[in-house]
């Protein structure tokens, strides 16, 4: 469960309608070319005064789930790089074309920021907390994404470094690290047209 202070605006970008439309524009199950595989997206976007934070969450605590849906550690950085790339292009499209005014305004504010920071929340099982070396992930992210953020962060609930939000572990067994559960997609962001 993520908690954001009042000074931050946050949104579950993954659930934006314009994001889903953006993805579908590039998705065609009948075709197998690169343009038809859809787009990817980070989980959260957070805004503070000057910074656009793109946040991805990966939860490797549940062994059953991680086998099915979570990428292998060796593929993780590349996947995140694609998510960052697609989210940034998705934000540009949302700023221009989103029908939902909150999404459009959030995208507008996001693209006004002065810098981009990338954060991976990586949760691992208590039995094997270091199966994935977070520094190795951070280093591979840095190689791939240094032109966007030369200092990407890899954090977890107990080691959140300099991020301004907090994470509480809800249920390590079979739930995602975050759940929407009907909570608003936008936090501390008030734009109502």
């Amino acid at each position: 469960m993520f908690s954001f202070p009042d000074t931050l605006s946050a949104s579950i970008y993954d659930q934006w309608k314009s994001r889903i439309r953006f993805e579908s524009a590039f998705k065609d199950g009948n075709k197998k070319d690169d343009c038809s595989k859809g787009t990817k997206a980070v989980d959260f976007i957070v805004l503070d005064d000057k910074t656009l934070w793109l946040i991805e969450v990966k939860d490797y605590r549940n062994p059953q789930k991680r086998k099915k849906t979570i990428p292998k550690p060796s593929k993780l950085s590349c996947l995140i790089a694609c998510k960052i790339r697609d989210t940034l292009s998705g934000l540009v499209v949302a700023k221009m074309n989103a029908k939902n005014s909150n999404e459009r305004e959030f995208a507008l504010q996001a693209l006004k920021k002065e810098k981009i920071r990338l954060v991976l929340h990586l949760e691992q099982s208590k039995q094997h907390p270091q199966i994935i070396d977070p520094v190795a992930i951070q280093q591979t992210l840095k190689i791939l994404l240094k032109k966007i953020d030369p200092h990407p962060l890899v954090v977890d609930a107990n080691h959140s470094h300099s991020v301004k939000w907090s994470v509480q572990s809800k249920c390590p067994k079979d739930q995602e690290l975050y759940e929407n559960n009907g909570s608003p997609i936008f936090t501390n962001f008030e734009h109502y047209s």
Binding site: P63, S74, Q127, T140, I143
Partner: protein, 402 residues
């Protein structure tokens, strides 16, 4: 490449650039070095040690003849003979044709000459800076000292084909441009293993028998036996020796041709009785104490991490950066992510911020050749097998389940 003024401005001669063609596993490469730390990474068999040995052989021969009494100015004839001998010795080969790409049975086409003939020469060009006011202008040849040599293999190749022994005394190296003056410091080569245990009598035996050791062992043993520093430079060395001596629990001591670790509590311990990691530190300490690794020169170190636990790797990472900061140009080949990270952490510290670094990743291509990626930081490299393997191991671990 960003070149900070420090080490260059001290007037030390340093390696700036190495261009190679058809050399061992490298079809073509152009490496630009930092004045401080140069790190080479890559899988086994990618040619890391080849690069270290080649650079060592060049810098050695650019110095050794000039140190002789009544030394002549560098000239083509002397250097051609000396390079050929040194390359054979350092690579421990009888036939210089092993240094050319074709002998590795690569599947790609060798370089074609202008006449359409296959060019089977290995080509090497090493550039040094040699002016006090060196500026970042690699094309300004008047301010560079250049060593170019081609390995001419026609003769050796014909000999091989017809089954004759290669004439060891033949000159197989052709110098195009000899350096303008001799370098003044002998480079140091540290191989993957320590030499203190084999030191006793090694040089005499090496010179009188055939041993399966390359010539770097002999050269480094000679340096280990140099007299210790005195006076002001001794004080300077003392500071650098402190962390090493703390980690070793004593001081390296050479007495009657044998090495000991002199400890405050157990007295003198024969070096063979000291743990391998500590012997390695003792070897480094001895080279610092003699002044050969102090404030000017080159260190080529193959896998410094070998036989060291993380605690000791941390110590040598700091010593390496101290050496760079003092003006030694350091070249290391490494497989250790721990060492690379330690160097990165330390390089952010104020005391080492001015140390210029350069990273090289050797990438094995499908056809067996090797391409070189390079950059001022580790993150300028696209191929980091060390990291990839670390994460692939995570994949395998994860498949085990909890």
């Amino acid at each position: 490449m960003h070149c900070h003024a420090g080490a260059w401005e001290r007037g030390a001669i340093m390696l700036k650039q190495l261009k190679i063609e058809n050399f061992t596993v490298f079809p073509k490469a152009d490496l630009q070095f930092a004045s401080g730390l140069n790190v080479i990474v890559g899988e086994n068999g990618c040619g890391k040690s080849h690069l270290l040995k080649l650079l060592y052989a060049i810098s050695f021969e650019n110095t050794s003849q000039g140190k002789r009494p009544n030394a002549q100015e560098p000239n083509k004839e002397i250097l051609e003979r000396r390079y050929a001998e040194k390359l054979r010795g350092v690579f421990h080969i009888d036939d210089l044709s092993y240094l050319s790409v074709k002998d590795l049975a690569l599947s790609y086409m060798p370089a074609m000459g202008a006449d359409g003939q296959v060019d089977e020469k290995a080509y090497v060009e090493a550039s040094f800076n040699n002016t006090r006011s060196w500026t970042v202008d690699l094309s300004y040849k008047d301010e560079t000292q250049s060593t170019c040599f081609e390995y001419n293999e026609d003769e050796a190749y014909d000999t091989c084909k017809s089954g004759f022994a290669v004439d060891h005394s033949s000159i197989d190296v052709i110098i195009n441009t000899p350096p303008k003056k001799w370098d003044n410091v002998l480079p140091v080569f540290m191989s993957t293993r320590e030499l203190l245990t084999i030191y006793s009598g090694f040089v005499s035996i090496y010179d009188s028998h055939y041993l399966e050791f390359d010539e770097t062992y002999r050269d480094t043993c000679i340096l280990l036996g140099l007299p210790l520093l005195k006076g002001k430079r001794k004080q300077q060395a003392k500071e650098m020796l402190k962390p090493l001596e703390k980690a070793m629990g004593g001081k390296a001591l050479l007495r009657n041709g044998r090495f000991y670790l002199s400890t405050p509590d157990k007295g003198e311990i024969e070096i063979a009785m000291v743990a391998e990691g500590q012997r390695k530190l003792a070897m480094l300490a001895q080279l610092i104490a003699t002044g050969i690794l102090l404030d000017n020169g080159y260190l080529f170190w193959d896998e410094p991490e070998n036989n060291l636990n993380p605690k000791l790797i941390k110590v040598i990472a700091k010593v390496i950066l101290h050496l760079c900061d003092n003006g030694i140009q350091v070249f290391i080949a490494s497989h250790s992510l721990f060492l690379l990270r330690e160097l990165e952490i330390l390089s952010k510290h104020d005391e080492f911020k001015q140390v210029e670094s350069r990273y090289f990743s050797l990438r094995l291509e499908d056809n067996g050749s090797v391409e070189v990626e390079q950059g001022d930081t580790l993150y300028d490299l696209q191929t980091l097998v060390l990291l990839d393997e670390q994460l692939l191991q995570s994949d395998r671990f994860m498949e085990l389940g909890d």
